[in-house]
Amino acid sequence: MNNWPLWEIFIRSKAGLNHKHVGSLHAADAEMAVQNARDVYTRRNEGVSIWVVESKYITASDPDDADPLYEPAKDKVYRHPTFYNLPDEVKHM
């Protein structure tokens, strides 16, 4: 069982919200990963839907590239939609 692959687990906490990454676990296949996730991550009523993805299929950005990737966005406040006056009738923005 030490050879079981690692799976990343995503849980939707309630209908309408996004699935969020909650952690990872080991399982022999996708079906077992869903069951294990149900037991490990939803026992305190955390979710209504589970996605599992085998960790090896996740491509991550390299932490060493953080500067070129993310720094340039920091001084570009004009990309935030904060320069508009929203009418009061528009709620939840």
Partner: protein, 250 residues
């Protein structure tokens, strides 16, 4: 007090408590973290079911008894659980097979008990049935994985099946309480449950490439309080605190 209703409720409560206690022994010892949690989740579900049933049995019994009196202060011969649930955990395969044999009864039992004319039993059944649907899926999946897995896993679960098979039928052999419950509409028809249970077992065993022994000998006695030696040891663990420090609370 309605003696049959009391015994009928206790039979199921005791099944759930003793199997819950057995499964709880795996806590911290599961083959992997995820299955350790799965087993303790199921143990807690079963103990939760037993609590609802003990509370109701205590109410039926009257004279100020509580669920704790029933769980902690009865001796082995008062327990009415079937012998299957008190059998030792053995290896993971044996625990899985014992669980599957119980779940394949328990799930259909609660489904039928939802139609009980006793409102309390019907309500307990409605809540418990959802839990047992998952239990049955979990244990049936593992029977398939082990049976149709490696040579070693197949061998282990086949030998668990050979060992536990003579304990599988007792649960559908009607006791006096079972007869009364069916006749008066507060309990289930065990014959109907048997046919559904048997076909589920047959289907899963076949897919898992396992063979049930042909011998139809069945152990029995649990429902009337005649137990294997194992129950005494379970109760010694389970009841120790209340026996050593009567009435103690925490």
């Amino acid at each position: 007090m309605n003696n049959h209703l009391f015994n009928y409720t206790l039979q199921q409560a005791d099944n759930c408590l003793i199997l819950g206690q057995r499964l709880g022994e795996w806590c911290g010892h599961g083959p992997i973290l995820e299955q350790d949690i799965a087993m303790t989740n199921i143990a807690l579900d079963l103990i939760g079911q037993s609590r609802m049933l003990y509370q109701y049995a205590a109410e039926v019994q009257g004279d100020g008894k509580t669920e704790d009196d029933l769980a902690y202060l009865r001796d082995a011969w008062d327990f009415k659980n079937v012998l299957l649930v008190e059998q030792p955990n053995g290896d993971f395969a044996k625990t899985i097979l014992r669980q599957f044999l119980f779940d394949s009864f328990n799930c259909y039992f609660y489904e039928a008990l939802k139609d009980s004319n006793d409102e309390k039993l019907a309500a307990i059944a409605a809540k418990s049935h959802k839990e047992t649907l998952y239990h049955l899926k979990w244990s049936a999946d593992w029977v398939l994985r082990l049976g149709d897995g490696t040579e070693e896993s197949h061998e282990r679960i086949q030998s668990a099946l050979n060992e536990l098979w003579p304990y599988s039928a007792e649960i559908i052999i009607a006791s006096d309480a079972d007869h009364d419950a069916k006749t008066n509409g507060y309990g289930v028809n065990l014959e109907e449950i048997q046919s559904r249970r048997d076909s589920k077992i047959e289907e899963v065993l076949e897919e898992a490439t396992l063979t049930a022994p042909e011998d139809t000998f069945s152990h029995s006695g649990g429902k009337s309080g005649t137990h294997t030696e194992h129950l005494g040891y379970i109760l010694a663990d389970l009841q120790f605190l209340q026996r050593a420090y009567p009435g103690n609370e925490w």
